[in-house]
């Protein structure tokens, strides 16, 4: 870089400027890496975040990465339903995740042994949409039961 002699009363520090320049380049690379991963869903809403768990009872589509106080949708599909879908959400899940609304609305809700059980009358293939909103940041791994079948969900909730 050009070295000059000047008559200005100026607090120019070129060694710091050169070091700063190198840090800037690293920071810009970090910015673009973060933007790329954010675009593909590292902080939610993207293919990296979209997840699905399934078993012989059905499947649950949800987002792995959530942001505090940002709503997201969990879609529960139950196969071979005889008369109703019984969705059991454990209390540790509800401590982190608030339920905004169900579509369709449950017919009943019961509190059974630290688990809230929602009942939706249905037959055949039933699809329930659950709009949720994280209440606090953290890491959450839990089991949701749908008609007695276990689905393991894992969330990282960013602040």
């Amino acid at each position: 870089m050009e070295k000059i002699k000047h008559s200005l009363e100026l607090d120019e520090d070129m060694s710091l400027f050169k070091k700063g320049w190198k840090i800037h380049i690293i920071a810009w690379v970090v910015f673009y890496v973060l933007i790329f991963f954010a675009a593909i869903g590292l902080f939610g809403t993207g293919p990296l975040s979209y997840s699905e768990v399934s078993n012989e009872g059905g499947r649950i589509k949800y987002e792995r990465f959530l942001r505090d106080e940002a709503e997201t949708e969990v879609i529960i599909t139950a196969d071979n339903v005889v008369d109703a879908v019984h969705l059991a959400l454990p209390q540790d899940y509800l401590d982190y995740i608030g339920i905004v609304r169900f579509n369709p609305e449950p017919q009943t809700r019961e509190l059974l042994n630290h688990t809230v059980v929602y009942t939706f009358p249905a037959t055949g293939i039933a699809r329930v949409s659950m709009l949720v909103k994280p209440k606090m940041p953290g890491r959450l791994t839990t089991d949701i039961m749908v008609n007695g079948r276990k689905f393991a969900l894992s969330h990282i909730i960013y602040p």
């Binding site: 870089m1 000059i4 000047h6 100026l10 800037h24």
Partner: protein
Amino acid sequence: MNPVIRGIVIYLFLMLIFRLSGKRTLASTTPFEFVLLLIISEVTQQALVGEDYSITASLVLILTLVGTDLFFSVIKSRFRMFEKVTEGTPVILVANGKPLKERMAKTRVSEEDVLEAARNLHGLGRMDQVKYAVLEIDGSISIIPEEND
């Protein structure tokens, strides 16, 4: 999240991002950059308050932001090096009418930017009329005209 923690996190993040993106970024040199700055302030406001529109949260946030700024201004006044690291130092871009190309490239300032500042500040029309052009820590360009004897 607690408003105090929100305020401190946002303050530190903004300080970091503005320092690392360079002096010329968001120096409001173009109308678009000014609009971008407004958008950033709007996004920041949402992140700060979330869904808490209470007066208490606003007062706590204002107190936190002013308190954090006061804290850093005291640190900067006591430790000159900290100020240099967090705010940078001025950089000479033109000396005796000659543009210092490498410095200008690294600070993303073009000769046209310097000439624009020369026109605006001193009514100068040519580079050889500029004795020094300095990129200040706020991203603005100061011009010292060549003295005519």
